[in-house]
């Protein structure tokens, strides 16, 4: 095979993979949006209607009227933001301590605990945790949800911050600051934190997405309709119609919860990727 035909073959393979993946990834989204906008009589048509004759925005109006969407989205936003803050503060402190003082016992124990708690099936502490929250009066509260979410995100975020610190903050810089009489907290706030902003951003995006997408905890811990985050609220909304009875309404609700997440992510994805990459290389 000569060089030219090999190049062409590589090009074909390259674009075949790109096009296949694009269809695989995007088609579900296309169908979701399409279903929410299709006129009623085209929904069940066979063969399926791939491009509708006109767009019917009526579903959006109906969902908006029937479901407290803003309330749900507001709950999600509030809980996810609080989770991000709590998780970020704790994980940054902890990750820094592990990355700088590895040789000592407490750090070692903490590392083991963090890795361990990532590996435990989420369902193992689940049942007992529910009773702890119930007895503490924290079910049906925002605090309870924030506690649950942050602790679930802390281990991964800690390890992410740890690898960011050990890769991007040179120890020599800190040593010279120590010689100049700077305290350990001083070094942390004046040197380590300012250098690590990209890592902090990546970690917060991760924590935020965890909170935004979470479903299992919220469905068990909340029965109060006013506090439900969007994931549970929309699940209940879809459930009340049944999976197949009102497809276009369900898909409309689905579009409304996905859109904020995708927009948020589109703006910040490059930080997430660089932050994850920093962690990925060393594990």
């Amino acid at each position: 095979m000569n060089k030219r035909s090999r190049r062409i073959l590589n090009g074909i393979r390259h674009w075949a993979v790109m096009i296949f993946t694009t269809i695989f990834v995007l088609f579900p989204f296309y169908w979701m949006v399409l279903t929410s906008l299709k006129p009623r009589e085209e929904l069940m048509a066979s063969p399926p209607v791939w491009i509708p004759s006109f767009l019917d925005f009526n579903n959006y109006k109906l969902v908006w009227e029937q479901m407290p969407l803003l309330r749900y989205l507001g709950n999600s936003l509030f809980v996810s933001l609080m989770t991000t803050i709590v998780c970020l503060v704790l994980a940054t402190f902890c990750g820094y301590s592990i990355s700088r003082f590895v040789i000592r016992k407490p750090q070692k124990i903490t590392t083991v605990m963090m890795i361990l708690s990532q590996l435990i099936p989420g369902t193992l502490p689940f049942i007992s945790f529910y009773f702890i929250m119930y007895n503490a009066g924290l079910t049906n509260t925002y605090q309870g949800l924030v506690i649950a979410y942050s602790v679930w995100a802390i281990p991964f975020c800690t390890l992410m911050m740890k690898s960011y610190f050990s890769q991007s903050v040179p120890i020599a810089l800190e040593e010279s600051a120590t010689l100049d009489g700077c305290s350990k907290f001083g070094i942390f706030f004046r040197i380590a934190i300012p250098i690590s902003v990209p890592g902090l951003v990546a970690t917060s995006i991760f924590a935020f997405i965890q909170g935004w997408n979470e479903f299992m905890w919220a469905s068990v811990m909340l029965s109060n309709n006013d506090m439900k985050p969007a994931s549970v609220g929309i699940y209940d909304f879809i459930g009340q119609y049944g999976a197949n009875s009102n497809i276009s309404m369900s898909m409309t609700a689905a579009v409304m919860i996905t859109l904020p997440a995708i927009i948020f992510f589109a703006f910040l994805q490059k930080y997430l990727i660089s932050g994850l990459s920093a962690g990925a290389v060393k594990g």
């Binding site: 579900p28 169908w31 902890c94 070692k108 099936p121 193992l124 049942i127 996905t258 990459s277 990925a280």
Partner: protein
């Protein structure tokens, strides 16, 4: 005052890690241990007095053929979604690692399933795979490949003894949602491979397939090991896809252990037997978990 400052400075490392450590201990480690205790009790909503019943729950669970079917389903689900997801992610990452127009655009677009709430993922795919509304069935019928719609999520007829259409369906759905994370991990690893190495191989006449298997893959091994172990454990514990798409049905054909625990504990309100299943889960995951833990600790020591 000076003494206090010195004290704080000396114990700064410990002060820094205590809050997170305490949180994890109270909210994950303690309840995990307590769940193990619960698994030896008959605690349930209907039972006003909880008493210890020894290994009764375990004997009951393990003598029920459904439990074994659930364990098998869980393993098949985790292994197949991981294998398919990893191979697919590798293929895409390898192509994304080349320089071409629109590369960052494609990369960002392929990450979309990852940030899609699991609830939405399952709602869309339920529609895509439903008997009546499915555009996939529609297309296949339009092309004349099939005569009547395939009931992707309803046909429980076994395939090869351990698979069924609904199980295959939720595996495909799961691949859709997990491959982006693996892709990012692989891509990040690929970017650390020195370009000179690839160039040298090209000069020596290696074609792209040889370059992939002789250079890219061996260099990526550490990243692959870590992400596959971690993702494998996550998929073994996966709750969302099975619960949200099929609720473990029809006829338990997609029942995985995490959903079983949830159903036992929070729908049937048998907390004791729910906890038993979760302990069984932990026992199965123990071996890969220990491997992962050891690997991580070795890396920590090396820093």
């Amino acid at each position: 005052m000076d003494k206090l400052k010195k004290f704080v400075n000396k114990y700064t490392p410990v002060i820094m890690l205590l809050p997170a450590l305490i949180g994890v201990l109270i909210i994950q480690i303690y309840p995990s241990l307590d769940s193990i205790r619960l698994s030896f009790t008959d605690k349930s909503l209907l039972n006003p007095i909880t008493s210890y019943v020894g290994f009764d729950n375990y004997i009951k669970a393990l003598s029920d053929p459904q439990t074994w079917q659930t364990i098998l389903n869980t393993l098949v689900f985790a292994v197949l979604s991981l294998a398919l997801g990893a191979v697919f992610a590798m293929l895409v990452a390898n192509e994304l690692n080349k320089k071409f127009r629109g590369r960052t655009f494609f990369r960002a677009m392929f990450l979309a399933p990852w940030v899609t709430p699991p609830l939405v993922t399952s709602a869309i795919w339920q529609l895509l795979l439903s008997e009546t509304f499915s555009p996939i069935n529609g297309l296949l019928m339009q092309l004349g490949w099939i005569d009547k719609p395939i009931n992707f999520l309803g046909n429980t007829e076994p395939i090869l003894g351990f698979l069924s259409m609904p199980l295959i369906s939720i595996i495909i759905i799961n691949v859709w949602s997990i491959f982006p994370f693996l892709m990012v991990m692989f891509l990040a690893g690929m970017q650390t491979i020195p370009a000179e190495m690839i160039e040298a191989a090209t000069v020596d006449g290696a074609n792209s397939v040889q370059r992939f298997f002789k250079i890219t893959l061996p260099c990526l091994m550490p990243v692959i090991e870590t992400s596959i172990l971690l993702e494998g454990i996550w998929q073994f514990n996966n709750f969302n896809i099975s619960y949200l798409v099929t609720k473990g049905g029809p006829l338990n054909s997609t029942m995985v252990m995490a959903v079983d625990v949830y159903t036992e504990a929070f729908i049937n309100f048998n907390y004791g037997s729910g906890a038993t299943i979760s302990v069984l889960m932990m026992l199965i995951i123990l071996f890969p978990a220990v491997v992962y833990l050891k690997k991580q600790l070795r890396q920590t020591d090396n820093i």
